[in-house]
């Protein structure tokens, strides 16, 4: 069957590529299940809980957009590998609910796929790992270059920025980022207050 060799090889190559793509999505999905579990435990115990024993990162917050039924768990840090499992909380930006601009970043084709459906005035709920919840309202969106975001993390407001790659439907990664800016409208405490 040597003449079937070429199509078979082609098919194999296609399968591997397809599999790799599927793997990225599967990883993103499965990780969120484990993260959801770890995050619930974090809130319950008050201790950071690793989602799996060999993880070097841990969940820090939950982002919810109730209108879109979107919910995802944010990890500490924004290294490439952390972003494979969930949105990352950018280093050097404050926690949600603190003064300044908290920045969360995630892949446009996995965890922040919902971002393109978020419209101005949507409510975004953030639950922090200490159980406190904060509600933000989406104010505006912008498209910037990755190295010229214009975000001053120590600004005076209580703001939130969700960032992902732009354009949404592009196949390759580019320098542009889509930013969704939101401002805190209410802060509540679901579990406890720190003394």
């Amino acid at each position: 069957m040597p003449r079937f060799l070429a199509p078979l090889l082609l098919a194999l190559l296609g399968l591997i590529l397809f599999g790799q793509g599927a793997y990225i999505h599967a990883k993103a999905l499965l990780a969120q299940v484990l993260l959801e579990r770890a995050f619930s435990k974090t809130i319950a115990t008050g201790h950071p809980t690793k989602p799996w024993s060999w993880a070097d990162t841990w969940p820090v917050a939950r982002i919810e957009v109730k209108r879109l039924d979107a919910s995802t768990i944010v990890l500490a840090g924004s290294s490439g590998q952390a972003l494979a499992f969930g949105p990352g909380h950018l280093e050097l930006t404050p926690d949600a609910g603190e003064r300044g601009v908290a920045v969360y970043s995630a892949h446009r084709d996995t965890h922040f796929r919902f971002l393109k459906d978020v419209v101005i005035e949507d409510a975004i709920d953030i639950t922090r790992s200490d159980g406190k919840t904060f509600r933000y309202r989406a104010d505006r969106s912008s498209v910037v270059r990755f190295d010229a975001s214009g975000i001053d993390p120590l600004s005076n407001g209580y703001e939130l920025v969700l960032s992902t790659c732009w354009p949404f439907d592009a196949l390759t990664s580019g320098p542009e980022r889509y930013l969704l800016h939101a401002t805190m409208i209410e802060s509540g405490s679901s579990r406890m207050t720190t003394p």
């Binding site: 082609l10 990162t57 050097l92 446009r108 190295d147 120590l154 720190t194």
Partner: protein, 755 residues
């Protein structure tokens, strides 16, 4: 086509369609299966990759560099660092350092300042002075827990208080309570340190106390330990790898006064006629006082503290004195410090003994980025240095490990070629399971084959928390192997490296950038290739001596033996014996001729404390015994250790109401050579309103609610990570290939039918 259609009957046509459908189905299923197969194969290593050490579990002690954290009710905040004055006096073998840090509380609230700073690893911190406003507070040494209680008590009472704690042997924390709005704080610490000697050259190094976004090397973290967190807290961690890129142009001296201006003065009294004196990273003015004394000052006045200060000096004579002997009388005991440099072995010796070198390379996720590049470059350089009669093996590890060869193989071109290819293909991924790799490296299969010197070269950033486990492995399995640690990257775990090298009787080399690979690896190979001085021992003829280090280390070329001892009487001599290569070596030093030195008792105690820590690590002493030893030494010699802290309480009550503090009251306390305007700015001083203690009732300091000290240097903008995967690209490309293959398949089938 037409032929085909004509010949084909209904039946084969149907079956062909079915076949095509089946083929589609099969391919679809296979795609999913392969997708999931890769999922399970790849999952574990890929998950934890490239992630920094779990910062959530890091306490202030894990900060690698100086930073002042102002404690507010929301946690800690960076405060302005106003300046540093480093005053060093070198007296022969010892360095007395006085580091003064000046801070101002720019907020309008009372704050508690927590200040984390690095010191040289061998430094013995014995003095803490705090000048808060116009008060000078001197610290006392206390057991750590007790000191903490005293401090907290004073804090609640509204008294000014200061506390110095050791977080790591080279990282300390100062806490200062009740700093009023607009007040300026002076923190002064003093430490004693031995001069470093290598070959003909003497040196000192001052790690700089640096603002987080100033320095490419350290990790600075502000920590939020919540009272109800059971000791766990959250950190805002700092991404070391891209620090440079996120650092804005805050250092432009044309526009800004330096954020952390530093003044350095060194009084160098070498004790012998001086030759070349050189500062490696700073431009200095060197003033000759006499033959053996120099006064070194920064040529351009204040410099921003963005790198270590390194000073080296050489004697005027061609050869450095190979022996130094110093004494100090404290209490009823004499302390002795001896430096002995063994003679360099004559080069014309026979060929060096063949070696068996086991290279271990860490390719865990934390090595990602430039670290793995440096590690690979270093290892490939090392492979090139092997001699044909050497043997070698390469082990790589992340959370899994592989040895390239089942056991060590001759370093011939074929094996070296395979090793180079193996190393080049490594990628940083996965967790860091260091112990199994160390265990494998130390497993010595060639018992009795003592022809080969066995050396383990371990390249890692040491980003693990289970240091103790690694130390135990080394202690248990080291056998005849020597362990050479190569610290890779901008912030390797130096504590792990130095102690592992000490326990493994090797040396520690730090490679901080790709440029340093060749120079540092060459230096390492000089150590690997030249016979060490081994089996060292010291014997005192008359005096009863407590010698430290307890086990004299082996020496590599150019390294002196540094020995400290406490003697009951200064009489007789000390005899130092050892072997240089195959030849015995012996030197006798008469004690009576020792020169007067300063602070030797502290150095002895500090080194003795290190011994106790090592004994605890290697389980030669029970933790309780070791702790008892450390505590007794620390209290006797007034040293800050893991178990003891310096605490200073201002007895006078806090400043009365309505008494504004003016910064101009302070110049008296400012070190000489300071440019006041540069430090405090030319503009009007922060308005200082009459101060009222708020919340007197609950007796607690109202901590600053202001999140941002007025002058904090922050990144102007945030750099956003890459947030697109190639998942869809891959899936589409895969699908296209599948369709193509299908078409091709169908086409071939059709041709088949045609014939």
């Amino acid at each position: 086509m037409t032929t085909c259609d004509c010949i084909a009957t209904g039946r084969p046509r149907l079956s062909r369609r079915m076949r095509i459908a089946l083929f589609f189905l099969a391919e679809g299923i296979a795609a999913l299966m392969i997708g999931f197969a890769t999922l399970f194969v790849n999952f574990a290593p890929a998950w934890s990759a490239e992630i920094k050490p779990p910062a959530a579990y890091i306490k202030p002690g894990d900060a690698r560099s100086g930073s002042l954290l102002l404690k507010t009710d929301e946690g800690y905040d960076d405060a302005v660092r106003l300046g540093t004055d480093v005053d060093l006096t070198v007296s022969g073998p010892t360095i007395r350092a006085r580091v003064t840090q000046i801070f101002r509380n720019p907020t309008k609230d009372w704050v508690e300042a927590v200040y984390v700073y690095p010191l040289p690893t061998g430094g013995a911190v014995d003095t803490l002075k705090m000048v808060v406003g116009d008060r000078i507070v001197v610290g006392d040494i206390k057991e750590r827990r007790q000191a903490r209680v005293i401090y907290e008590q004073a804090k609640r009472n509204g008294q000014k208080a200061a506390l110095t704690e050791q977080e790591r042997p080279n990282i300390f924390t100062n806490s200062v309570a009740n700093i009023g709005p607009g007040e300026t704080v002076l923190v002064q610490i003093e430490y004693q340190e031995p001069v470093q000697q290598s070959g003909n050259e003497f040196s000192l190094r001052v790690p700089m106390v640096v603002a987080p976004r100033y320095n490419p090397a350290p990790i600075v973290q502000s920590v939020d330990l919540r009272p109800d967190g059971g000791g766990w807290g959250a950190t805002k961690s700092d991404p070391v790898p891209d620090r440079d890129r996120i650092t804005p142009t805050v250092l432009d001296p044309a526009k800004h006064a330096p954020v952390n201006p530093t003044n350095i003065t060194v009084r160098l009294q070498a004790g012998f006629p001086l030759g070349e004196v050189k500062s490696h990273h700073h431009i200095v003015k060197i003033e000759d006082v006499d033959d053996a004394t120099r006064l070194i000052k920064l040529a351009e006045g204040l410099v921003p503290a963005d790198r270590d200060f390194e000073l080296t000096w050489k004697p005027a004579a061609e050869k450095a004195p190979s022996v130094g002997l110093f004494r100090e009388h404290v209490g009823d005991a004499d302390y002795l410090l001896a430096f002995v440099t063994p003679p360099a072995v004559v080069e014309a010796e026979q060929k060096p003994r063949p070696r068996e070198v086991i290279f271990v390379i860490d390719n865990s996720g934390s090595m990602g980025g430039t670290s793995i590049v440096q590690a690979k470059a270093s290892l490939i350089y090392a492979l090139g240095r092997l001699q044909p009669n050497d043997r070698f093996n390469v082990i790589r590890f992340d959370d899994t490990m592989d040895a390239l060869f089942p056991s060590a193989v001759p370093a011939d071109s074929e094996h070296l070629g395979r090793a180079t290819a193996f190393v080049s293909a490594l990628r940083a991924n996965g967790g860091t399971e260091m112990v199994p790799a160390m265990r494998a490296a130390l497993t010595d299969r060639s018992d009795g084959d003592s022809d080969h010197v066995r050396q383990v070269v371990f390249l890692t950033d040491g980003a693990v928390g289970n240091e103790q486990q690694l130390f135990e492995t080394i202690t248990a399995m080291r056998g005849r192997s020597r362990i050479f640690m190569v610290g890779i990257g901008s912030a390797p775990n130096t504590y792990l490296m130095t102690r592992a090298a000490e326990l493994g009787r090797g040396a520690f080399t730090h490679i901080g950038s790709t440029d340093q690979v060749e120079e540092r690896m060459r230096a390492l190979f000089a150590k690997l290739e030249n016979p060490a001085v081994t089996n060292l021992s010291a014997k005192f003829s008359e005096a009863h001596a407590e010698v430290t280090p307890a086990i004299l280390p082996d020496l590599y070329r150019g390294e002196p033996l540094v020995l400290a001892a406490r003697l009951d009487k200064l009489a007789g001599s000390v005899e130092i014996k050892g072997r240089i290569g195959d030849r015995p070596w012996l030197v006798t030093l008469p004690l009576a001729n020792a020169a007067e030195g300063k602070g030797l008792s502290k150095l002895w105690a500090r080194r003795k404390i290190d011994d106790a820590e090592v004994a605890r690590t290697t389980r030669q002493a029970s933790p309780d015994d070791a702790n008892k030893t450390i505590l007794a030494l620390a209290l006797e010699h007034q040293l800050v250790t893991r178990l003891t802290s310096l605490v200073a309480i201002d007895k006078t009550p806090s400043r009365p109401d309505g008494e504004p503090l003016k910064v101009s009251e302070l110049p008296l306390n400012l070190p000489a050579g300071w440019d006041f305007a540069k430090v405090f700015g030319d503009g009007p001083q922060l308005p200082v309103a009459p101060i009222e203690r708020r919340a007197e009732g609950d007796g607690r300091t109202q901590l600053a609610a202001l999140k941002r000290p007025a002058v904090v240097q922050a990144p102007d903008t945030v750099k956003l990570p890459k947030t697109a995967t190639d998942a869809e690209l891959k899936m589409i490309a895969g699908a296209i290939l599948l369709v193509l293959s299908l078409l091709l398949f169908a086409f071939i089938r059709r041709q088949n039918f045609a014939h």
